[in-house]
Amino acid sequence: MSTQNAATRSGVSLKVWLGIALFGVVLAILPFILGMAGQSWVRTLNFALLYVMLALGLNVVVGFAGLLDLGYIAFYAVGAYVWALLASPHFGLHLPFWMVLPAGVVLAAFFGAMLGAPTLKLRGDYLAIVTLGFGEIVRIFMNNLDAPINITNGPQGINRIDDISIFGFDFGRSQEILGLRITGPEKYYYLLLLLTIIIVVICARLQNSRIGRAWEAVREDEIAAKAMGINTRNIKLLAFTMGASFGGVAGAMFASMQGFVSPESFSLTESIMVLCMVVLGGMGNIPGVILGAILLSVFPEFLRAIVVPIQQAVFGDVIVDPEGIRMLLFGFALVLVMIFRPAGLWPSAVRRRELTGAKGGQA
C-alpha cells in the first residue's frame, strides 16, 4: 500500500504539483474574476464556501461515523448567535475576533457533545429524528428567548453585528491595498478560503488516522467495533463534537458576514439541504462533499438566473411560475442524480463497494 503510494508520488509529482499550483492561482484570483460580473457573485461564492464548511462538518458525522444527523444546522446557529451576542450592540459587547471565534467553536462543540450524549444508544433513524428534534429545539429557543429575559431578541433577530476586524483590518469595508481596490466580500472570501482549507486538511488527516478508522468501524458494525475494544460512546461523541465545531466556525462567519442573524435562517430545511450536499456529492469522500456543497449552493442561483430569461426567450413571456420550475428542477435533479449515481457524484471507494457488494444481506 504505502510502497505503491510512494511510487506514484515520485512518478507524477511534477504534474500534481503543477495542478495544485494552478488550482491555487485560480482560487486566489477567483473573486476578482467573479467580481467583474458583480459583487453579488462574490457573495454567492462566499456562501458556497460556508456550505463547504458545513458539509464537511456534517460529513464527519454522517459520512465518517455513519450517524444520520438531521439537526446539524443547530451548531451553525450556535456559532452564529455566539458571534451575534458577543459582538453587537445587543448586549453592547464588542469582543474581538480572536475571542469570539473560539467561543463560538467551543460552544458549538459543547452542544455537539450535549446532543451526542443522550443519543448514543440510538440507532439509525431513531438518531435521525432525535437530532432533528434537537435542531428544532435550538431554533425554538432562539426564537423565544426574548422573554422573560431578552437573550436572543427572539424572532426579530440581532442586527448590526460587528465585522471581523484583525489588527484594525476591517473585513466588512472596501479599501485600497497597494493600489488594488478590495471589497468587503472579497476580503471575507480569503478568510473563508483559509478556514475552509484548514478544515479540509483536518478532515483529510482525521479520516486516515486511528480515529478515522474507529469511526469507520462504528459505522460498519457497532458490536464488532466494541469487541475490538473501541469505546464507541467516546468515538461517536468525538464525531459529533468535531462536526459541530466546524458548524460553529461557519456560523460565526455567517453572522459577521451578514451583520444580522435571526432564527429563520436555521430551519430544518437548511439541515436537510446540507445533508443533500453531503450525500449527493459523495458521502465520506472529502472532494465529493466539497463538490456537492458547491453545486447545490450555486445551482439554485444559476436556475434563478436562467429560468425567467429562458421562458421569456422561448415563449416571450413568463408562462410558468419561475419559483415552481426552479424548485421542480431542483427536485428532479436530486432524484435523478441519486438514481444514476446512488453513491453520489464523487463517491469514496468504500461507498462504491457498499453498492456493489450486495452479497449476504442480513442472514
Partner: protein, 359 residues
C-alpha cells in the same frame, strides 16, 4: 441628446407564499415610473428615463442580503423595498454602505432605529399600527381584558408586543399570552387555555392563513370574544377560510381606504386600467414611495444619491395616500393613519380611521 437612465432597485418576495404582496408593490412602482417617464423630467441636465431593477428576496434574510448586493452591483440610484422586516433590516446595511437611499414598506420600528440616514418608510411602522389596534381594543371595543396570540415571526411578534404595550397604556390588561407558528393550523389547545381565562377580546399577530382557521376554532370552542388582528387578516383569504365564523372579526390596516385617500380614486382607476386587477393594500403606498424618491430627485435636479438624499429627508408633498407626506429625523412618516375594519355580513367594512401625527 443622451438620456439619464435612473435605475431604481426593488426587492420583495416575488415567489413563495407572500409573492402576491410583492407583485402588488411592484405594480404600484411600475405605475409610478411609467408616469414619470411620460413627464420629461430633467435630471443632471438631461431628460431622465426611469427603470425598475427588480429582485426576488423570497422573504428570506439571507437572500435579502444577496439580492441587495445584486441591486448595488447594478449601480442603481435608490432602492424601494423590501417588504418584510426580516429582509429589510439586514439589506439596509448593504444599501447604507453603498450610500443608497432606501424606502421600505411597513416593517418593525428597528429599521429606522439603526441610525442610518438612508432609511425611509412608505407607510406606518408596526409600532404605530400596533398602538392604534391596542387603543381600539380598549377604547372602542371596551375590552379591558385581552388575550394575545402571535405566530413567533418577526412581524407577528413585533405587532403583538406593540399591541400589548398599547393595551396596557390605555388601561386594559393582557391576561393571557399564547403562541403558535406561521405553519400551524390547529389552535384548539391554546384557545382552550384562553377560553378558561375569559378575555374580552383576543388579538392575533400573524397571517390570514392562521387567523382564518383560528377564528373558526374559536367559534367551535364556544369562545364569544371578538378576534382582532393586523393587516394580514384584512384579506379575502381570511373571509374564505373563516367562513360564517368570520363575522365579529376586526382588523387594523395601515393607511386609509382608497376611497378616502387624497388621490385614491384616481390611482385606483389608473391601476385598474393598467393591470386589469384591483390594487392591493400596498400598491398605493409603493406608488407614493416611488414618487417620493422621484420628487426628491427633481428637487435636487440630480439622480445622484448624495445629491437628492437631503431633499428626500426634507420632503414635503401630497400623494395618493396622504396630502401630507413628510419624514421625521429617523425616516418615519410624520403623519400616519390606521383604519380598523370589521367583518359584517361576510364582508370587510370600515369601522374607523385613526390618524395621528407622530412626534
Amino acid at each position: 441628446a443622451e438620456n439619464t437612465v435612473v435605475k431604481l432597485g426593488f426587492a420583495a418576495p416575488l415567489t413563495g407564499p407572500q409573492s402576491h404582496y410583492g407583485e402588488d408593490m411592484k405594480n404600484g412602482l411600475t405605475l409610478a415610473l411609467e408616469e414619470a417617464n411620460k413627464q420629461n423630467i430633467q435630471l443632471d441636465g438631461k431628460p431622465a428615463t426611469f427603470e425598475l431593477v427588480s429582485r426576488d428576496d423570497q422573504a428570506d434574510p439571507r437572500m435579502a442580503v444577496q439580492v441587495a448586493q445584486q441591486i448595488v452591483d447594478e449601480e442603481v440610484n435608490g432602492v424601494l423595498g423590501h417588504f418584510n422586516s426580516g429582509t429589510t433590516i439586514p439589506a439596509s446595511s448593504v444599501y447604507n454602505d453603498a450610500g443608497l437611499p432606501q424606502i421600505a414598506m411597513a416593517t418593525s420600528p428597528e429599521y429606522t432605529d439603526q441610525g442610518y440616514d438612508t432609511t425611509f418608510r412608505m407607510m406606518t411602522s408596526d409600532t404605530q399600527q400596533g398602538a392604534a389596534a391596542g387603543q381600539f381594543i380598549v377604547n372602542e371595543l371596551g375590552a379591558k381584558t385581552v388575550a394575545l396570540i402571535d405566530d413567533r415571526t418577526a412581524y407577528g411578534q413585533g405587532l403583538a408586543d406593540q399591541v400589548a404595550k398599547a393595551v396596557e397604556a390605555a388601561g386594559g390588561k393582557v391576561i393571557a399570552r399564547e403562541y403558535t407558528t406561521d405553519k400551524a393550523n390547529d389552535f384548539t389547545s391554546i384557545l382552550t387555555n384562553i377560553k378558561s381565562k375569559e378575555p374580552a377580546a383576543i388579538f392575533f399577530g400573524g397571517l390570514d392563513a392562521q387567523s382564518g382557521p383560528m377564528r373558526r376554532q374559536m367559534v367551535t370552542l364556544g369562545i364569544k370574544a371578538p378576534l382582532v388582528s393586523g393587516e394580514m387578516t384584512r384579506s379575502a383569504t381570511f373571509l374564505k377560510l373563516a367562513g360564517e365564523a368570520a363575522n365579529g372579526t376586526y382588523a387594523s390596516l395601515a393607511g386609509v381606504p382608497l376611497k378616502q385617500m387624497a388621490a385614491g380614486e384616481k390611482f385606483q382607476s389608473n391601476y385598474k386600467e393598467r393591470f386589469k386587477v384591483e390594487p392591493g393594500v400596498y400598491a398605493p403606498y409603493a406608488y407614493d414611495g416611488a414618487w417620493n424618491m422621484i420628487t426628491a430627485m427633481k428637487e435636487a435636479g440630480s439622480a445622484k444619491p448624495k445629491a437628492y438624499l437631503p431633499k428626500l429627508a426634507s420632503l414635503q408633498r401630497s400623494g395618493a395616500t396622504s396630502q401630507n407626506i413628510a419624514y421625521d429625523k429617523k425616516g418615519d412618516l410624520k403623519e400616519i393613519s390606521v383604519t380598523i375594519y370589521e367583518v359584517k355580513n361576510d364582508k370587510w367594512e370600515m369601522v374607523k380611521t385613526m390618524v395621528s401625527k407622530a412626534n
